[in-house]
């Protein structure tokens, strides 16, 4: 990339891998700090192209709702996370898809999470899009969406942060 604002693939991967580490380590406040103040986080439901204003999604958060989510998990009273899920994430196939006209860097990757909780192991897998922006020189996430491979199937307790 010749654009000076464009990060290298190495810098992008470092951010995505850091996000995975923070979530696996339950460092949720530090995870939130990777996101811009106007960030959104979206996991579509049974219609991947559905408009979240008119169609049920698995998750459709703005920044305040992301903060609520972290608050709830931290409160110690989110029963679906007592005890909390232990996770191990593989972030792979990372590609810089485009730099859009607003200067947002669009990154595609694949996510595979092994989750363990109360005697059971499960996997969660999907295609991820991150939109990144520089804030005071640092690369930050302004949007993340995950298209789960099984979004139209019955889901089991997705109350940990994916």
């Amino acid at each position: 990339m010749s654009n000076a604002a464009s990060p290298s693939l190495e810098e992008i991967e470092a951010l995505l891998f850091l996000e995975a580490d923070l979530l696996d380590e339950h460092k949720l406040e530090e995870w939130l700090a990777l996101y811009t103040d106007d960030a959104t986080y979206y996991i579509p439901g049974d219609d991947p192209e559905g408009d979240p204003r008119t169609h049920a999604s698995i998750l459709s958060d703005d920044r305040p709702l992301m903060e609520d989510r972290v608050w709830r998990l931290r409160s110690g009273a989110a029963h679906a996370q007592i005890p909390p899920s232990q996770t191990c994430r593989i972030v792979a196939n990372v590609r810089l898809a485009e730099v859009d006209p607003r200067g947002e860097i669009v990154v595609h990757s694949r996510l595979l999470i092994t989750e363990a909780r109360r005697g059971e192991r499960r996997t969660v897998a999907g295609r991820v899009e991150h939109r990144l922006r520089r804030v005071d020189g640092a690369l930050r996430i302004t949007h993340k969406s995950i298209r789960l491979v099984d979004a139209n199937m019955p889901q089991y307790n997705l109350t940990f942060i994916l």
Binding site: I43, G45, D46, D47, G50, R53, T54, H55, A56, S57, I58, L59, S60, L65, D68, R69, W71, R72, S75, A77, A78, H79, A80, I82, R118, N152, M153, P154, Q155, Y156, N157, L158, T159, L162
Partner: protein
Amino acid sequence: MLTASASSIPDIGELIRPDRIHRSVYSDPVIFELEMCRIFEKTWVYVAHESELRMPGDYKTAYIGLQPVILARTEDGRLTGLFNRCTHRASVICRYERGNANFFRCPYHAWTFKNTGELIGVPRRDRYPPDFDPRDFDAVKVPRLESYRGFVFASMNPEVEPIADYLAQARRWLDAQIDLSIEGTVSLSAGAHRHTYHGNWKLQAENGVDGYHAVYLHETYFNLRKMHGRESDRFGPRDESLGWTMSFDNGHALLARQLLDDQIATVRSQFTDYYDRLERLRGKDRMRELLTQKNLFIFPNLYVLLNQVRVIRPVSPSETVVTMYPFFLDGAPAELNAQRLRDHQIGFAPSGFVGPDDYAAFECVTEGLNAGGVPWLLLLRGIHDERIESDGSRVGAPSDETTQRGIYRRYRELMLAKDAE
């Protein structure tokens, strides 16, 4: 029909008592099998909403208990219900949850059926006997199919009463959910949230009208509302004097929480024009009922609760699938419906702040049920103070177990019915 021998059939009458339920009712495979024939094959079972089947050819697949069915809108605009089962060698003939098609082709030997059920294609017919008549092998129709204000119910029981009668005293409360729409219809156009949990289907049946658990199990949700100053809108207060539980004939049940006047004012102030028009249409008293928080259970598998239609699908004694369809009010402002969807989603999506905690609790119950040394689950809250109305409904305080007792009264009757085989 039953694989279990008669001697191994448990004494249901003893296991379901007025104030307690035996743990085996939630885990015994024989009881589960009995439920499928004595309940799910006897009553009406909710299968679809007409808004999911608007155009000719629209179809969706669903279940009556464990039995796969297809609901479809035929060319003449009518609804049909077919068993999703090829009349030849049993394969399902439709593999999608929904779609639009005028015929269904069995994947195995390509027998093809119109959505009316008519068998229109049998490949290489020449090797069937000369008297083979395809009309004898049309897809089999579900014995009864009726719609009540868009809610489509099916029944395996040809003798079942009309759906409007089956709804009994619950009917006016179902009406109240629908009449919040100025057009008097709702739409399930927003897709669905689908959940699965390790636990018996009745745990979900009991839970949606349980007014006792919410402030404890869902504490984080209520705290978040309080933090954002939103505790006052739409959700009624948890005050025991401002609401009630009710059980109706046929096992239906209601948990209602009244909104205070200033809460109603807050709700209305956001969409003044809509609610004013609605009040002129429905009347002042009815308006209060429309704005009451209502969790309505239609026995055995349907909830119309807050902003959602919730469907319970038993899979095995210890596996259940729940589908929640957020519903929109036809004729309401887009922003009002968007708000309903948002509210629903924050609570009840698989990532939500309410529903997943219920399922976590059900799984704790499922695990605890293994403690055979403690056989009973208690349903006696408020039993000393239950009021019987002139129409036969029973009423208790919002946190009473009036509703669960009502569900199990009907459950017990059906499970003990002599003509059940």
